[in-house]
């Protein structure tokens, strides 16, 4: 009996010891919005960091879509249950920047924890987006993307087109789509994810047209939308017309959940979506060869198209956690900015390389030669000199403004509004949302 209880005591002691070892590792919670192939890769990165040292454990938690993750983080913050790190899409940047008491700026976090931090090492179009007016980076760039065009080379050939030549202008997109549909090679010409991001925000940037006042919102809260120009209205009209003619198929609001299957099944020959769709496209386009190309433009509006603007997300650190957790977050960010980690993530997913070193590493590895088209996104976002109109956009409550754009676009698509009426209504309703944001954050 004595022996027995001694053994039990020993067992209890062992358990207590091993659990205290586990306790010595600080847990850093990381909420993210990466599902599917991207989520698996993200978990690999966290596991890589956890294996590289023994002080911290980064625990990734999938929280649903970008909008859901942001909402969950805000609700958690209000309940004092927030994670240390949360992935917020670029649309939420205005909201996060305005929430000064909630956010631990990354440049400060890195300095406080003596971690190396060189803003110049990051890709300029990305960091400009996430810096305050003094040039300090507020959130950790992680997965930035830009929309590009994917096309089905086999369908192009079946339609009598050159399989290596993608349409450059919108006129060519229309012409190619007609050929594709008329020849019966596919039932639709093209589809697109993210009408708000790709067919409105990026369309404006590429054509050097203002999206809003005050340098597209970078200059302050008193900004107003101005994307109701002639070109944007004409483009919406065109999309509605092409939709009626069967050349374009609408993929749904927000990210456009119906767009990817339309391309994967070969129903649509051309597909415009984030460069980060690359992983999904490669995984799903098993039966045909995929071509990659920059987004089309109207050559009668601009001769040399400007750079496209980014999407994707950054990692924000939230206030109210312990010093150890912040040390862990800072160490994790250092790990994340290593060229090997970045290059691996970028090459697998199609997101932009966040640091110049990661891009150079890819070049020296010969990755871009071996994978033609994989550098389209980088070339497109770094082409020319960015103007105030193509530097990016930053508006508060942009999530709601994008919903409004989807709604008005659907009205144009259904034929109940003209393109001009649609963009005018979207601007008017969007401005109300901006005023609401301004009032709440003054």
């Amino acid at each position: 009996m004595v022996r027995h209880s001694f053994a039990a005591g020993l067992a209890a002691l062992t358990v207590a010891l091993s659990s205290s070892i586990a306790l010595a590792q600080t847990e850093v919670t990381w909420w993210h919005a990466m599902g599917g192939e991207l989520g698996t890769k993200l978990e690999e990165i966290a596991a890589g960091f956890n294996a590289s040292q023994s002080d911290y454990v980064v625990t990734p938690v999938f929280k649903g879509s970008y909008a859901e993750t942001l909402t969950a983080a805000i609700a958690a913050f209000r309940a004092n249950e927030q994670p240390a790190i949360v992935q917020v899409f670029e649309v939420g940047t205005g909201t996060m920047m305005a929430a000064k008491g909630a956010v631990y700026p990354v440049y400060q976090l890195m300095a406080d924890n003596n971690q190396p931090w060189d803003p110049a090492g990051f890709l300029a179009p990305v960091t400009g987006y996430y810096s305050d007016t003094d040039g300090n980076i507020l959130s950790m760039p992680f997965n930035s993307s830009t929309p590009i065009m994917y096309y089905n080379k086999d369908v192009f050939e079946a339609a009598g087109l050159d399989r290596e030549v993608a349409p450059k202008t919108w006129a060519e997109v229309e012409e190619f789509s007609k050929k594709i549909v008329e020849s019966g090679a596919a039932s639709c010409g093209f589809t697109s994810g993210w009408v708000s991001w790709i067919q409105t925000e990026n369309l404006s940037a590429i054509h050097d047209l203002p999206y809003g006042t005050l340098q597209n919102g970078f200059g302050g809260l008193a900004t107003e939308f101005t994307f109701n120009g002639e070109t944007q209205a004409r483009h919406w009209d065109n999309l509605a017309k092409w939709s009626k003619e069967g050349l374009f198929r609408y993929g749904g609001p927000a990210g456009g959940a119906d767009a990817p299957p339309l391309f994967y099944t070969g129903d649509c020959a051309i597909y415009m979506n984030s460069s980060a769709s690359r992983a999904g496209v490669i995984a799903n386009a098993a039966g045909f060869e995929v071509g990659f190309a920059p987004l089309p433009y109207y050559d009668d509006v601009i001769a040399e198209p400007k750079n496209s603007i980014i999407g994707g997300a950054t990692l924000w650190v939230l206030n109210g956690k312990s010093a150890e957790e912040y040390a862990g977050a800072a160490a994790f960010f250092t790990y994340l900015s290593q060229p090997q980690v970045q290059a691996d993530w970028h090459q697998f997913t199609g997101y932009l390389p966040i640091t110049n070193a990661a891009f150079e590493l890819g070049q020296s590895q010969g990755y871009y030669e071996a994978n033609p088209g994989s550098d389209i996104a980088i070339e497109q976002i770094t082409r020319g000199t960015p103007s105030d109109n193509s530097k990016g956009i930053r508006f508060g409550n942009l999530t709601q403004a994008r919903d409004v754009i989807d709604q008005e676009f659907e009205a144009v698509l259904a034929g109940s509004k003209t393109g001009q009426e649609g963009v005018d209504a979207a601007v008017a309703r969007g401005n109300e949302i901006l005023r609401e944001f301004e009032a709440a954050n003054q």
Binding site: A99, A102, R249, P261, S416
Partner: protein, 294 residues
């Protein structure tokens, strides 16, 4: 008749017995409702750092917003359609099953199954069947010459959420109708049959009046269901689109508050929604209940 009333001498016992129920009602219903009323007079940033009292600004903005008034109208159409379809279909099914002696139980079990499905799952199911690019039913409709695309077509989107929401509620109504039908004494129908009344006459003059308490109860439950419980269905099938054509009030509360983070406006909407349902229920009890025979 009042002579049998028992009077308990203990003053506190009834209050003590009621206390748990009252506490739950207070904590889970009254307190949140008061919070909503409070929030509806405020403007707050998403993180909750700063709150400003703004009187009726949230309400006046809503009532001046044509989008909100549209949503009101759509909700009305939606609620009427869901109530009529869910109750009508389940009554027909209940009458059919009630006539079966042997296999009635099997049918009852099968018909009750959909009720076990969560609203979001039900929504996904219908979304999947009618998905314009991969749905089986949209494909079948396409073969029959009907182009189904609820992403663009507002009427189709409305049909979709009405179908999904009604389907989910039919099981519940069915159970109550079956129970109601079984409590109708067979002797009444037999007597009427002997007097020469046909099946429709018997149903209309005997079964319908005796079912009226059940029908009245279901009417209120179904209207409340359509007004409050359908947000999961809408979220999973159409997310309120296209162009807000299926954005019913309860979904708008969710979308503006939880997705748009505009808590003030969302609270004002839920207060208005609460008022609408209270008024509806009072009207039903005052005017419809008179025609109910217990």
């Amino acid at each position: 008749m009042q002579t049998k009333r028992t009077i308990f001498p203990n003053m506190w016992l009834p209050y003590g017995l009621l206390a748990p129920q009252l506490a739950i009602t207070l904590v889970f219903f009254i307190w949140p409702a008061l919070q909503a009323v409070k929030s509806s007079f405020e403007r707050e940033d998403p993180f909750g750092f700063k709150t400003t009292f703004i009187w009726f600004a949230n309400y006046s903005k809503l009532l001046a917003d044509p989008m909100y008034l549209n949503a009101l109208w759509r909700t009305l159409i939606f609620a009427v359609l869901v109530t009529v379809i869910a109750m009508g279909v389940s009554l027909v099914l209940a009458v059919a099953v009630n006539r079966l002696l042997r296999s009635g139980r099997v049918y009852t079990t099968l018909l009750v199954w959909p009720y076990a499905v969560a609203p979001v799952v039900a929504g996904i199911l219908w979304w999947f069947m009618f998905n314009p690019s991969i749905g089986i039913l949209s494909y079948v409709l396409g073969q029959m010459g009907v182009t189904w695309n609820h992403r663009v077509n507002a009427d189709q989107a409305m049909i979709l959420i009405v179908l999904a929401a009604s389907w989910k509620q039919i099981s519940y109504n069915f159970l109550f109708f079956v129970a109601g039908l079984q409590s109708v004494p067979a002797s009444l129908s037999e007597a009427a049959a002997i007097d020469g009344a046909g099946p429709f006459k018997r149903f209309w003059t005997i079964v319908v009046p005796l079912l009226s308490p059940t029908t009245f109860f279901l009417l209120i439950v179904n209207i409340n269901y359509a007004m409050f419980d359908t947000f999961g269905v809408v979220d999973a099938t159409t997310s309120g689109g296209p162009a807000q054509s299926t954005n019913i009030l309860v979904y708008k509360v969710y979308a503006d508050g939880f997705l748009g983070l505009n808590i003030g406006s969302s609270a004002a909407q839920s207060v208005l929604l609460m008022l609408i349902v209270i008024v509806l229920t009072v009207v039903q009890f005052r005017f419809v209940e008179r025609r109910v025979q217990y």
